[in-house]
């Protein structure tokens, strides 16, 4: 029982860690609370499972899921930058529109890969690892750990490049990025595409892990991701060694664990979302009372009235 709970926490938590890494870019780096995530996550799932069903290799399906998610981010960025729609509202518009697209793509059904379809977690390689009742879960966990760490390392490298520096500067002090001759809008667009692309990949990987896609799988994903990011960066806010990317992965595992514990102690799953919100609220409240909050953030609006 306890072993199963632990294995579940790790599998789910690592999937959520992928979403959290995406949202880390939009929320933490760009300072953009992006609600597109609730739809770009299932979009990645439906695209991926749909393609796998028609015989597309799962690697390719995951890449297409990235592109699909990135396009969702592009729409949000476009609404915000081109038409000056507020960031939350831009995300809500894209998120809502995509709900229909996702249903249309899945034709309203639950999509299940066929038995002979290869997936990330069910292929020629993984079939060698069948020893006991836990081996499939452990295989999943190993695969997920490799993916999460690879993504984390890629992002860490990216944030050390000039472009990564500028992306951070755009979120940190947009006025300064403009003063350095950069088109801050383009960087926001880049960040939102990257963030939602990663979320699309997370959706693709999550639905392969679940072995099905259904349209409700994205509901609440924004809360899960934001909670993970805020928990992780909150805990390690003073650490000079733990990177932001590492801390959001740990945040995702902690949040998933707390949700699973709620279920394990017998709360009916009807109330799962209630507890999801409750724990998120508690996290935000604690976070607000932590000392040493970020200072010096600047909004574009008050530039011209110095």
């Amino acid at each position: 029982m306890a072993v199963n709970v632990l294995l579940n926490i790790l599998q789910q938590g690592l999937c959520y860690a992928l979403v959290a890494l995406g949202v880390y870019i939009s929320y933490k780096i760009l300072n953009f609370p992006d609600l597109t995530v609730d739809s770009s996550f299932p979009l990645g799932g439906v695209v991926c499972i749909g393609l796998i069903q028609v015989g597309c290799p799962y690697i390719l399906a995951i890449i297409v899921a990235f592109i699909a998610g990135a396009s969702a981010g592009l729409i949000t960025a476009f609404l915000h930058l081109k038409f000056k729609i507020n960031n939350l509202l831009s995300g809500i518009i894209t998120m809502t529109a995509l709900l229909s697209i996702n249903i249309a793509l899945s034709k309203g059904r639950t999509l299940i890969p066929y038995n002979d379809n290869k997936t990330l977690f069910n292929n020629n390689l993984t079939s060698h690892f069948a020893f006991n009742q836990y081996s499939s879960a452990i295989t999943n966990i190993i695969i997920l750990i490799i993916i999460v760490i690879a993504l984390k390392l890629i992002l860490d490298l990216f944030f050390k490049t000039k472009r990564g520096f500028m992306l951070r500067a755009v979120g940190d002090n947009e006025q300064m990025s403009v003063s350095l001759g950069s088109n801050s809008g383009l960087y926001k667009l880049l960040g939102l595409c990257l963030a939602n692309g990663i979320v699309g990949v997370a959706g693709a990987i999550y639905s392969q892990y679940m072995r099905y896609f259904d349209n409700t799988s994205g509901t609440g994903m924004v809360v899960i991701a934001l909670a993970s990011v805020i928990i992780g960066t909150g805990i390690f806010r003073k650490s000079l060694i733990i990177k932001g990317t590492t801390s959001v992965i740990i945040g995702a595992l902690i949040y998933t664990a707390s949700l699973n514990i709620v279920i394990a102690i017998g709360v009916p799953s009807t109330y799962l979302k209630l507890f999801m919100a409750l724990i998120f609220a508690i996290v935000l409240i604690i976070n607000n009372y932590l000392p040493d909050k970020k200072r010096g953030k600047r909004k574009m609006e008050d530039i011209s009235n110095a």
Binding site: F158, K160, T161, K162, R163, G164, F165, M166, R168, A169, D172, N173, Q175, M176, S177, V178, S179, L180, G181, S182, N183, S184, K294, R295, G296, K297, R298, I303, S304, N305, A306
Partner: protein, 260 residues
């Protein structure tokens, strides 16, 4: 000497065609020669910040032309103009990225004008170059090179902002009360640093200040604005002979006219 900056027949109104309309400039003209260091004074609301804003492109003009070396820039976006026009603000948090370290901020500034590509932004060699550069400020910032800028004092941040904005060659430097948020001592230090950098790099500069002593002591030309018009414009010998009392007198006359 050729004109570096010309503002010709500028109109600027806020809330145009509403009852709240504020006319800041109408038919405003200004020529600045290459190499000039212009101090700009004037009472609150006289349009000093607005003047810098329209030059830097953070707000648009309604009518007129702005030229930098005979090239019209008034239609160019702010981030494009920023490649040749540097700016330091009154608020020390504006010119630097608070959650990035000093080294990271300098690396960003050093790459200004180039593509921010996928090569690494920092390496050991650059860090030691930046340390040398920071030593010239005499503030001990070289020992804080890996400290986040949010942990620095206002004066330290302004010094860093000045360094960053002049790291790459620029044609024009705009300073908007950039010492106003600092204590008198630090403010004096930043003023001296400004003078040194501007002289060393021969940067044409417009400096808005409420410190009349700075306006008189520094710079090669002095402008006083009132309600969007130039009421004093002294350069050369006239500027050198100017004393604080002269400007104060005009200031008071204007205030009396306004019924204050």
């Amino acid at each position: 000497m050729p004109n570096l900056l010309s503002l010709v027949h500028i109109d600027k109104n806020f809330y145009k065609e509403t009852i709240d309309e504020v006319k800041v400039f109408s038919d405003f003209n200004l020529e600045v020669e290459s190499g000039e260091f212009v101090s700009i004074v004037g009472s609150n609301g006289s349009g000093k910040t607005t003047l810098l804003n329209i030059i830097s492109g953070s707000i648009d003009i309604d009518k007129g032309e702005i030229k930098l070396f005979d090239k019209r820039i008034d239609k160019e976006k702010e981030y494009i103009r920023a490649r040749s026009i540097g700016r330091v603000y009154q608020d020390p948090s504006r010119g630097t990225s608070p959650n990035m370290t000093i080294a990271e901020n300098l690396a960003l500034a050093e790459n200004k004008g180039n593509i921010y590509g996928l090569s690494f932004a920092l390496n050991k060699k650059k860090i030691s170059e930046y340390k040398e550069l920071l030593k010239t400020l005499n503030l001990g910032l070289e020992d804080k090179i890996n400290v986040k800028v949010s942990a620095l004092s206002g004066g330290e941040r302004q010094a860093l902002a000045l360094l960053m904005v002049t790291m790459k060659p620029i044609d024009l430097l705009l300073l908007d009360e950039h010492t106003a948020a600092l204590d008198p001592n630090t403010s004096q230090k930043i003023m001296e640093l400004t003078e040194r950098i501007v002289k060393e790099k021969h940067i044409t500069t417009l400096m808005v200040t409420h410190n009349l002593r700075f306006a008189v002591e520094y710079g090669s030309r002095l402008l006083m604005l009132n309600k969007g018009e130039v009421v004093i414009d002294k350069c050369g010998k006239e500027k050198e002979e100017l004393v604080v009392d002269d400007i104060l007198k005009t200031f008071n006359e204007i205030s009396i006219e306004c019924g204050n």
